[in-house]
Symmetry: D2
């Protein structure tokens, strides 16, 4: 039983574990805008696909070759679970493209997602992380995609001590990119956004300046704030095709533009020739998505358990019970003004929390 296609319930047989796999029963879930993107056909027509790729759960069964996990373990499930035997893994720093571009993104990409009574995890030993005693389920849930992706944006941008950073888009990934920039030594962090709840959390995570499209051209505002110098690095975590041009215009020579934005196939991406120094500017344009594997998640969890970050500030709405998944999903889809990220506790009831 699961959410699919037009967001209805679907009955499918319980998945089974191959020798290296695990079957997991989710205990906390979060819908993501990628799920709604898929629902609305953003990655082409899909039928009978179970959505969801962010989950904490309890292992229901493991294949006989699995060594480090067993039935009953409480685990954090990365949204990106590479096939570790595929060649792309050996050539990719972030293990993102195992057999082909984005191949490591299995949930939604090549199999059913996590919004089900049970879901399948390939290469369990390499792709799961144990939930530490001192990290809450909801904090851990934020690491599976939002935090790992936002932190990857700061890694792509190679944020260095004293850098000025522009973060375009302060949805949940952009907010994590703000936090990640501060946690890699950024000086000034200019965030672009308008919704009050997001602006407040952005400041809380380290944004020093907030600018908005409503106040005029973003690149011009950045130039004004930086005395015509531009920022050292720009992270794109939202916005349409224009965000790329804006980023190049707002970033100084020798800078880096790092995008973790999922562009639409119809987006026209262009590089402003003069702002790119006619190809002489050493402005590096990078893109990518969430790195894969259990070790990545373990590192994110280390940051939480050592008090470096609290990602639960992203969570604005909590639902209780498997049957509330559609309500959470619907909220995500409609993006209410007070929403950053909703989660669904499968087992808990409000008064039990």
């Amino acid at each position: 039983m699961a959410i699919v296609g037009e967001a209805t319930w679907l009955t499918k047989p319980k998945p089974t574990a191959g020798p290296l796999d695990a079957i997991v029963r989710p205990t906390v879930l979060a819908p993501c805008s990628s799920d709604t993107h898929v629902l609305h056909g953003g990655s082409g027509p899909k039928e009978d696909l179970i959505l969801g790729h962010e989950a904490i759960g309890i292992i229901d069964s493991v294949g006989k070759e699995v060594k480090n996990f067993k039935k009953g373990d409480k685990v954090v499930v990365p949204c990106v679970t590479p096939d570790w035997l595929a060649p792309g893994v050996q050539n990719s720093k972030s293990f993102s493209h195992d057999t082909r571009v984005m191949g490591s993104f299995k949930f939604l990409g090549s199999k059913d997602g996590t919004m089900a009574e049970f879901f399948h995890v390939n290469h369990a030993d390499a792709n799961l992380a144990k939930l530490p005693d001192d990290v809450s389920e909801e904090a851990a849930l934020m690491t599976t995609d939002m935090m790992s992706t936002g932190f990857h944006a700061a890694e792509l941008a190679d944020v260095s001590y004293g850098d000025s950073i522009l973060v375009i888009g302060i949805g949940p990934v952009g907010l994590m990119a703000v936090a990640a920039s501060a946690l890699r030594g950024a000086g000034r962090i200019i965030a672009v956004g308008t919704r009050p709840i997001c602006v407040a959390v952005a400041k809380d995570y380290g944004a020093t300046d907030i600018i908005s499209y409503k106040e005029g051209d973003i690149a011009e505002q950045v130039m004004k704030l930086t005395n015509g110098r531009g920022v050292d690095k720009t992270i794109i975590a939202g916005g349409g095709a224009d965000s790329l041009s804006t980023a190049i215009l707002a970033t100084r020579e020798m800078g880096i533009i790092a995008s973790v934005n999922f562009y639409d196939i119809n987006d026209k991406l262009s590089i402003p020739t003069l702002a790119w120094g006619l190809g002489m500017s050493h402005k590096d344009i990078r893109c990518g998505f969430c790195p894969g594997g259990g070790e990545r998640i373990r590192r994110m969890l280390e940051l939480i358990s050592n008090g470096r970050i609290d990602p639960t500030k992203l969570i604005t709405h909590k639902f209780y019970g498997f049957d509330q998944i559609p309500a959470a999903f619907d909220l995500m889809d409609k993006k209410s003004p007070d929403l950053i990220k909703p989660i669904v506790y499968i087992d808990k009831t409000p008064n039990k929390v």
Copy 2:
């Protein structure tokens, strides 16, 4: 007396050296397509500007604070001569953008060039390199721009052992990029070009495959040659605005596109969205130009004196005498089919060589 604007002779006073500078009398010169680009207004209207930025010469005088060079030294002059006290130097790996984007490119950029009886070099101690006894003047001349730029392309592309490389454009810089790729451990090197002289030298420098626009779409040819995989890295050293799209289409996920192409301000540069993996592909788009400073040139000269490369294969035409500069310049401007690079010996006569 010098070549300027509409390629005529111009009389200007002999330049003078500030305390850290040198005045150099050229002994061998080479015109470059950047010179003709400037001549034809590619970088906006310029008046009374002496062209030229590739030269070997003899020091005529030095400022009183210059320590490592003296009158009479035979020197190699980098085409990029940073102001080493400007802040951009401290933030740039290639020392290319001292006070502003491309600021380190002084000749043509902010002062007269080298096609004169005497020319000025700022920060002589940091920006000159002595001509080693075991390197010929014409070989050394090739390091000042062509070799240093072509090698920078391979550095930007981070060519690694066994990489497959596509080099778009096999003019002199592209040819040096082919050689540089082979010298950084590339496996297969696919070069794009058609002129027989360039094709022959490309093969000599290590190209394993030659493809041509005449045979169809470049990206499609690359995909066919690589069984649909694409190349690991692409270097753009020529072509129009399309070269960027071609490069992104021809490069595999996790790859690098490295451009040292000087785009025209009217070029429309676009990124093919799907081939960029909708922003998820980890395909890195880099650009830049020749690194600056004397140490860079010293390293290039080390490669020549140790027999790793012979850049004189680029030299297809030799002229003799200061008054032959216009003839060489004209040849460069018209790009005859048998041309790669012309040089002009100021002092020598043919029978003296």
Copy 3:
């Protein structure tokens, strides 16, 4: 008039500025253990040398080629001031070794220091940074060596998200390395030290665990804390020759040992062969010291003015008046238990603060 050799007052002529230099009158000074190290002959016999290399001051005069600074500017003076025209600058990421090893360390190294009524700064345009309005003099003073060096340690260690870090030595540089590790995304930070004042500040800057030589072997304690795994990276910011062996023993395979410790010429440094995996472990041993130049300091100041760090927690003792330099110096030399870092305000009096 200045502190020298056996810590006495010395009368010397006022220094003069070459064309690119500045003469600065200090307003706040700090003695450093390197000063006392030199005093006690740690770098060989020195005579008539003015000590001191950490200072904030007001420009008294500039050479005629200086463009960006003028008499009366309040400036932050890096302890490392490279000769930007020397070749080592072009080959060094940190600009530390201009003409020779440690050549960029001019104060004490090749000329008089800052504990004088006026001192000399070479290459003023490149080596000075303006004091921002929103940064206090004493905070800025901490950037000139302690903060820049401590942060360099974390750079050498390539601290990455979720790394476990061991910091050996929590004097002022080690404390800054703790802060720098937290600001580059470390998870767990184990600091080695015993003095209560240092322990308290270490925790404040982000240390999660404190261990002490008094409790037994450091490497063994680390192994116990990390379940036999060792830490990902170790920073050495204090201790004797043994600190290097300890670091190698305490760091896991593929890890980094980063030392900014100034070893004594009589120290016997050895690598424990088995713990280094018989040379197979990929444990990288790095060393270095404070990077040079004004841009480096500007980046440090950005961190302060954007509220990322408050380095004044290092300052435990404040002195007032030029004649109190010997008292501050003496305190540094004797390392009282409650001391981290003393500073001397030249102009202020206690009630004026």
Copy 4:
């Protein structure tokens, strides 16, 4: 039947493939000094261990989960075959330390080697490479350890355009390091060795200078050759414990010492304090061993098939027939003066070649 312990024949059951594994029948083998090192107890007492870790072979059988290889495929077998599901793989650039230090070195390390009628390969899909049509078996055999290790040394040393390189030790790995340095853009390459056959091949692979211990202290000779400057990087591919001190003495500030030497547990490794700049020199000391996985080997094979290198120059002796393994092994053990590397063809006879 296989070579073991005291180099005798041993009868063992044919190994069996787990679901992800392959069983391979060797067609060409090479003994390595690591084998003789193990034989003589260099890694502690071992009983009934089959030696050998360099092999080309034909797949005899594969586990049922293996996708990319099948019975009858001719394959190149890396000497390092990681467990790709172990956490160390996700933290190591070279995939060398899967479960623990050197864990990825399975042959000899944790299971029988390749000098048998059949041997076992874990994670076949990730750890095997197909033998390309245009690469000979003996050339491919050289990639499995010698070439991959020697090239890793140059990677660890980060050899860059124009670098001067010192290579200590010109046995087969050192010779590959010479070739690898030239193929990464080294200028001058000074090799340390004495045996004429090795000296000749070193020159052929790109060494520009040969020095010998017989002519005096190595570091002093290097200083003399480099006018007191030292080399930019040093690769240690042989020699005893002294090689490390020598390397530090011979390398300039900001340089890199890269060791792939397998030290003896009784070696005393020390760092000359003054030559290390009292810890201030930014001389980086790195170590490591052969990277693992099939993609690594595929890259090495690309270099051969594209004509960048011919590693068969290492092969000085050829044996024919399974029963000649002991003779080849004995030759390796005794290191005859004319030996670089012996190989054994299992199937071929001399006249069939």
